[in-house]
């Protein structure tokens, strides 16, 4: 593949297709086994990120590579060589100048852990700009942004492109690719199988190229409105235990039977804390804030809540959703006690069979029920966890970012499983950063920002714009304390 100056090039492919590995080898983080890179007509060997940066290649990582306890300018300084620092002179003022020129709005003296995800991403972009970058690589940059922030990011990218900077762009969101990219390479199984011009393709036609002919698109699903309240939270306020966490502030909502409530929000706005509070993982005893079927469960432990009919699919698959070093069968046993333990003895035969049935039903790719959880790819493990939780026939399922980093095929399977569960009469709370997914699945929607939950609306009666504004916190009453919300750019 090749890239010309000012071109915005998309790398597309399913999970594990090799997109991240490819860009990491361009940036010198991993060494390729064979092959060569040509840069400005000369063959180059990029052995380390330092060499890549000298050539003028910058990268914004999917999981940000910032140091949270350092300030913005310290973070940027660490990336620069002594010579670069000298040519720049005063780093703080350079950052401010660039910040104004590109509308990045980055304050050099802030500590990184106080920044929102969108701001952190702008710091990473700034880090590349400071070094006069000629090729900017972005690994799934939009997956963590509000729609308004995405628009802001695209403005910056278009501006860079018009100045002759090439951009390599990895995304799972095909409508973004068709919106901004000039060309695209499609990877499958580590091979570049196709190229196309996204400006003349549609998201559907690109999806087909990515997954092959099997591509079955998520079509619109019918919405349902429940009446009977299964789970209720009222005025749930909880201080964060972590220094980088978000405290929950006066959260109230109801989950109704046979309905999916979607909660939109940018990562780090209290989703993890909300999940921990509902699941009982948080561990602090509360009173009169959460009810299941009319029973106050606020003070019960996570295990008891499970036995009352609640199930969870946490965001973190390895470590929360499953124990990495245990087999799938053993992981099943962790949440299913009934029927598998007799007089204190584990009925391994039944466990095995059950794990096998989940694997078959959800087409989990693995080496059988005794593979270690950590040996599965993210999407496959997610399908397994989803199957395990759904298999308990829960009354209430709490589900966070179910398709995060999951390829199109697996996402479809997970979506259908969620809808099937809803149709069986379960109440589902779906927390996601993927706003398209929420509009696809949720029957009612709300947004979370800085630990506040917005009012809920019927999905059909709202728009991406409104939810996007809510994600930026416009619903928060400005009279309440400590809501120094930034209006989205």
């Amino acid at each position: 593949m090749q890239l010309s100056p000012g071109e915005i090039h998309a790398l597309l492919g399913e999970n594990g297709a090799g997109k991240s590995t490819l860009v990491k080898s361009i940036y010198g983080v991993v060494a390729p086994n064979s092959g060569q890179f040509m840069w400005d007509g000369k063959e180059v060997e990029i052995k380390s990120p330092a060499i890549a940066r000298e050539l003028g290649i910058g990268m914004v990582f999917q999981h940000f590579s910032l140091f949270e306890t350092l300030t913005v300018s310290q973070n940027i300084e660490l990336c620069l060589s002594k010579a670069q620092l000298e040519t720049i002179g005063h780093l703080g003022s350079k950052i401010s100048t660039l910040s104004k020129a590109y509308g990045l709005n980055v304050d050099p003296d802030r500590l990184v852990h106080t920044l929102s995800i969108g701001e952190r991403q702008r710091v990473e972009i700034m880090r590349c700009l400071v070094q006069d970058v000629k090729l900017l690589i972005l690994d799934e940059p939009t997956s963590v942004l509000t729609p308004q922030e995405v628009a802001g990011l695209f403005d910056v990218l278009r501006r860079l492109s018009s100045e002759g900077c090439s951009i390599m762009f990895i995304s799972h969101k095909l409508h973004e690719v068709t919106e901004i990219c000039h060309s695209a390479t499609i990877l499958r199984g580590g091979k570049a199988i196709d190229t196309c011009d996204p400006r003349i393709e549609t998201p559907a036609s690109i999806a087909k190229m990515m997954v092959g002919d099997l591509a079955e698109q998520d079509a619109g699903y019918s919405k349902k409105i429940g009446t009977e309240t299964l789970f209720k939270a009222e005025d749930l306020t909880l201080d964060s235990k972590q220094p980088f966490g978000t405290s929950l502030k006066h959260i109230s909502f109801e989950l109704k039977k046979g309905e999916i409530l979607g909660v939109a929000g940018v990562a780090g706005n209290g989703q993890d804390e909300l999940m921990a509070a509902i699941s009982g993982e948080d561990g602090r005893k509360l009173k009169n804030v959460m009810w299941l079927d009319g029973k106050d469960i606020s003070s019960l432990g996570a295990g008891t809540r499970r036995s009352l009919g609640m199930a969870y699919v946490p965001e973190e698959r390895l470590g929360r959703g499953a124990v990495p070093d245990m087999s799938l069968a053993e992981n099943t046993l962790l949440t299913h006690k009934v029927g598998f333990v007799k007089n204190g003895w584990v009925e391994w035969k039944a466990v095995k069979q059950y794990a096998k049935s989940i694997i078959d039903q959800f087409k989990v790719k693995c080496h059988g029920e005794f593979s270690h959880a950590k040996s599965l790819s993210g999407g496959n493990l997610q399908k397994f966890i989803m199957g395990r939780e759904i298999g308990q026939n829960p009354k209430v399922l709490i589900c966070a970012h179910p398709t995060w980093g999951v390829d199109v095929g697996a996402a479809l399977a997970i979506h259908q499983a969620l809808l099937a569960l809803r149709d069986q009469g379960a109440a589902i709370l779906l927390i996601s950063e993927d706003i398209d997914e929420l509009f696809l699945l949720a029957d009612r929607m709300a947004a979370i920002c800085d630990g506040h939950l917005s009012p809920t609306v019927h999905t059909e009666k709202t728009s991406i714009d409104q939810i996007g504004e809510w994600m930026a916190g416009t619903f928060i009453n400005t009279n309440t304390h400590d809501t120094n919300q930034e209006t989205a750019a």
Binding site: P49, L70, P243
Partner: protein, 310 residues
Amino acid sequence: MDIDLITQILFATIKTGTPLLLIALGEVICEKSGVLNLGQEGMMLMGAVVGFMSAFATGNLGLAVFAAMAMGALMSLIFGFLVLHLGANQVATGLALTIFGTGLSAFIGSGVIGETLQGFQPIIIPVLSDIPVIGKILFTHDLLVYISFVVAAALAFIANKTRLGLTLRAVGENPHAANAIGIKVLSIRYFAIMFGGAMAGLAGAYMSLSYTPMWVENMTSGRGWIALALVVFASWRIGNIMLGAYLFGLASIMHLVLQGMGWSISPNLLAMLPYVATVVVMVIISADQFKEKLLAPRSLGKPFDPRQMA
């Protein structure tokens, strides 16, 4: 208590706190880079015995200190190779290092038990030592004490004001991110581990060449362990480490002073005082949980394999 006694006590406080300060300064650098080395006690004992034996054989104290530091660095290099290259568990490897050092130092030092030599002599710094009270407390020590002042000041400067300090913190906080921006994580960690080893050796040399110029088995009596606790309670800050080390020194002195004043408390109970007092006070200082989590090197004790992607 008259002013002379207080001056005496504070002078002895610094003297007693110095070995703890030296070893804790080494450990804090090691931990800032994200490596937890529980082998401090073993490296310190090896430093003490090698320092004493070298001085005993050659009569050259400078050479003896150098040998002790080299020994500490060598021991830490073994640790570094095991945990950085082979990915061994840091806790288990560190414990093994302590047990190894304790045994080996007793074995090689058995021949010099009971021997004595002329240790480091005080250097009275002119002018400064004439300052009333403070001059006597701070500027009538031996060379190694002055070195501990200089090292503490230098480390505080490096850690807070220089790019090297920034790099060290970056490596300890997020090695994957540091690697991605081109910092050589393993080299930095090797360097930090070896610095920790050399400082432990120096602390050992101080014990056997200055504090009590002789060799006894287990003469460090748990200072390596207290240093580990000290670093945590001091929130990885150099200033707090100095404070804690001298607090330990003061409490150690007080148990002698109290006995001298005729208090009828069991000496065994009093001997516990420095350990208890240091831990209690440092716990109180670091009571702000929220702030502590910010200061701790976030990847402390976690192995880093550059071949594995984050």
